[in-house]
């Protein structure tokens, strides 16, 4: 009986890489690892169900928002995670990422990699129209006004499909940018009315500049790739596809699906700011290895350690464009993993290192985002509550109704506050 490992990286190529790593691990320790893909959308339900049935896997590769709720629910064995981090030396980890998972006096799970959300925009059009890079609400709205010309060109493609995580992410990003947060040190905090209204009006504006209907990452990418959108919000996973390295998501702006043209026309912004928060904020996501309470603890520790050490570059190589190293190096070489990562080729059907596709400034901006990256509840120590608030999809729903003109902004904020207060 070996280890069972749940991963949200379920595309066949990525799965294959993880299986390779599992094989390497077995070669070293003799411990068999079964890699089980789980759709990210179902992860919460699946884990809860498995917990209920006493059937949890040993290790789960999971996104940030589950770390603390699962620790609380008793799914994660936080002591073991802490033990692993300590063994690997907490110093070698990016402190922000580690901080997001801190739980009681240890860590809920072991941070693995991360990325920040980006505003992807048509640099060429912006330059041609003399527009500023979309780093603020204002700049975006100006650009929308100038460039929105449906159906040839949509100003923006906002997320409006309320049951997609994507909408939660984009909204959190937008709200964070204006300094809106639903939590403070004591738990729930009503959304600031003024700031929230600014953000809502902004979101409504960009939604009106989007096509009708329920939108999420799929439409955003398709439209942008077809050259029909001026701006979208997306994760760095788009970086290779933008450059025509992946056949299943080709740019269709011209006839050549392998063209790097679109990549060269594209600019990227990670830190966005609203009128009430001039400093702005970036939205970051970090992925973790969680060791469960039903795990074969020793073996699980071995496996996580291996993946974060000898196997770390393999772990990152699954999709380097979206997996920035959180462990920067080991005791001997503090830059070991960062250096190694930069040389990893991205792409699926064709491969090239990121450095070949984007200029250095862009890459720096992308990676640098991780330093300012934040999420609701991280600094307040209320990540767990914040996660529940997000998972309840209350904000999504009300924002959507606001966009659909069902009630005005002030009322929406009031309603949201009332509903959110109920979340515990």
């Amino acid at each position: 009986e070996g280890l069972r490992f749940w991963t949200t990286e379920e595309q066949p190529e990525r799965l294959a890489k993880q299986e390779e790593m599992a094989a390497a691990f077995k070669a070293k320790t003799g411990i068999e690892v079964t890699v089980i893909p789980v759709t990210e959308k179902d992860l919460g339900t699946r884990a809860t169900a498995a917990f209920a049935a006493g059937d949890l896997p040993d290790v789960i590769y999971h996104p940030l928002q589950y770390a603390l709720p699962w620790a609380e629910a008793g799914i994660l064995d936080t002591e073991t995670a802490t033990e692993v981090v300590d063994a690997l030396d907490a110093e070698t980890f990016a402190s922000g990422a580690l901080g997001m998972a801190s739980y009681e006096d240890g860590y809920a799970s072991v941070p693995v990699d991360g990325w920040t959300q980006m505003v992807v925009y048509r640099k060429d059009l912006f330059e041609a129209n003399g527009l500023e890079a979309p780093t603020t609400y204002d700049a975006i709205l100006k650009a929308v006004e100038k460039l929105h010309n449906p159906p040839e060109m949509f100003g923006f493609v906002a997320a409006t499909k309320i049951d997609e995580n994507f909408m939660s992410q984009v909204l959190e990003h937008v709200l964070l940018a204006n300094g809106v947060t639903p939590v403070d040190d004591n738990g729930f905090k009503a959304l600031d009315e003024k700031k929230t209204i600014e953000a809502l009006e902004f979101y409504k504006a960009i939604s009106k500049a989007s096509p009708a209907g329920d939108l999420y990452w799929k439409q955003s990418r398709e439209l942008y790739f077809a050259g029909k959108a001026a701006m979208i919000i997306w994760s760095p996973f788009i970086l290779d596809e933008l450059a025509g390295l992946r056949d299943s998501a080709p740019p269709t702006i011209n006839d050549d699906p392998t063209s790097k043209a679109l990549a060269s026309m594209t600019g990227i912004v990670t830190t966005l700011s609203g009128p009430s928060n001039p400093d702005g904020a970036a939205w970051g996501d970090v992925r973790y290895f969680g060791i469960t309470n039903d795990a074969d603890t020793d073996a699980a520790i071995e496996f996580v350690k291996f993946s974060m050490d000898e196997g770390y570059l393999s772990t990152l190589s699954i999709a380097p464009e979206g997996k920035f190293p959180i462990r920067r190096g080991d005791g001997e070489n503090p830059e070991k993993f960062t250096m190694g990562w930069a040389k990893l080729p991205v792409g699926v059907d064709r491969k090239a290192p990121l450095t070949e596709l984007y200029d250095e400034a862009t890459i720096e901006r992308i990676v640098g985002g991780l330093d300012t990256a934040s999420r609701w509840g991280v600094t307040e120590g209320q990540l767990s509550l914040a996660s529940k608030i997000i998972n309840s999809q209350v904000i999504n729903r009300y924002v959507r109704e606001f966009i659909d003109d069902e009630r005005d902004a002030a009322e929406t904020v009031a309603k949201m506050n009332a509903e959110l207060a109920k979340v515990q």
């Binding site: 379920e10 990210e40 049935a53 059937d55 077809a226 056949d247 998501a249 080709p250 699906p257």
Partner: protein, 408 residues
């Protein structure tokens, strides 16, 4: 109205002109990928004239010449009024296909008008005769609309599965197949599904689960149905009615408790769990169908068996069951279909990709960034076996084995 016949001819012709042109144009678009905008107005006019000419020639003299003449007129009209571009395509774009399109347009128009306007005079018509024509037109439209309505999604499903994402995104209208790319490239999605996505296993699992469900269902429902339909016992009437009620209990209502209990028993995420739930949900249907069939079997046959010295069980095994083969086949087919197509329980219960059924496997294709042609290829893989079995059995089912056993 003295000239009802002429009026009907004109209207009928116009309708067919419009419809045939629309269908030809859209088909042309889908086959070639070039956007053909059917010139409906010109086609309607051409159709109307065509119809009128046919009627004017009268039914007695409606020989080949009349048809060719009418078609020529229609051709001239449609060309003239669409400014020589009936599909609004320049003539040098896919000229061959355009030619075929025009030809098909004229042929189909001629066929439709000839059938609909058979026996229509130029002058007055009785109400009876008018209605006969209306019904012909309505039915004709019905055939066209229904066939498209049903076939189009399946056509798109198959064609999409044979394309690649970039082709699809580049021109969603181009559903043509490029045969020059070679078989492996054409069926790349399928190859990938079987090699990388484990569809071989899913297919096996689906087959095993469905067949096992059929067998279990029959094992349970045959004796039950026989008892309810033939044997006398207290509470029989009540039972035979309540079967149908159970059949109507929605699966979604069962899901939560079953989920809870199966989770605790470790039956969730196992094929055993599915093999308990599937038969339980199909047994009532099967029992209901079989019971009806058993009732319909002549009781004398079984009585003859009893007189021939068989026991009840003997009668069931040696007489009832062999005679019920068509019913067993149709019940099996139905249950197989239910099990094969079942989605909810497979979705709720199965987590482990090693035991995914096809339905569950196809859902997994929808969840991440899997290219669309893979999703459609998955859909095709899930559809083909059940459709194949359905078509094969349909013929089988027709043989009424009882024919000839009763009466002359």
């Amino acid at each position: 109205m003295a000239y009802t016949g002429s009026l009907i001819a004109l209207v009928c012709g116009a309708i067919w002109g419009t419809v045939v042109m629309l269908v030809t144009g859209v088909t042309l678009t889908l086959v070639t990928g070039e956007v053909a905008v059917p010139q409906v107005g010109a086609a309607a006019l051409a159709g109307a004239l065509h119809g009128f000419v046919l009627v004017w020639r009268g039914s007695a003299r409606r020989d080949l010449n009349a048809h060719v003449g009418a078609a020529l007129i229609a051709f001239v009209v449609v060309t003239a009024f669409s400014l020589a571009a009936p599909f609004a395509l320049p003539l040098d774009v896919v000229p061959l296909w355009q030619g075929v399109g025009i030809f098909v347009f004229l042929g189909a128009l001629g066929f439709a008008n000839a059938i609909c306007l058979k026996g229509v005079p130029l002058k007055a018509m009785s109400r009876y005769d008018r209605e006969v024509v209306y019904i012909r037109v309505l039915k004709g439209l019905g055939f066209v609309v229904f066939t498209i309505l049903v076939a189009l999604p399946f056509y798109v499903m198959v064609m999409t599965s044979l394309k690649s994402q970039q082709q699809l995104l580049a021109n969603p209208l181009d559903l043509s197949i490029d045969l020059s790319q070679g078989v492996t490239s054409l069926f790349r999605s399928y190859v990938e599904l079987f090699t990388k996505y484990n569809f071989g296993t899913y297919l096996m699992v689906s087959a095993v689960v469905s067949v096992a469900t059929v067998i279990l269902t029959l094992l349970f429902s045959v004796p039950g149905a026989y008892a309810v339909s033939r044997l006398r016992f207290p509470g029989r009437a009540l039972l035979s009615r309540s079967v149908l009620l159970i059949y109507m209990v929605p699966a979604i209502v069962l899901v939560i408790p079953l989920y809870a209990v199966f989770s605790q028993l470790g039956l969730r995420n196992s094929l055993t769990g599915l093999l308990i739930v599937y038969p339980a949900t199909t047994i009532p249907v099967a029992l209901y169908m079989l019971q009806g069939y058993f009732r319909g079997l002549p009781a004398e046959l079984e009585e003859a068996g009893l007189m021939d010295g068989l026991s009840r069980i003997g009668v069931i095994l040696k007489i009832t069951l062999p005679l019920s083969l068509p019913a067993l086949a149709s019940v099996s087919l139905y249950v197989f279909m239910i099990a094969w197509n079942e989605f909810l329980f497979a979705f709720m219960f199965l987590d482990d990709p090693d035991i995914f059924t096809l339905s569950r496997g196809v859902v997994a294709l929808n969840s991440s960034e899997v290219p669309r042609q893979h999703l459609m290829a998955g859909a095709v893989i899930a559809t083909v076996p059940v459709l194949g079995i359905f078509l094969w059995f349909e013929r089988f089912l027709v043989q009424g084995l009882t024919a000839g056993s009763v009466k002359g």
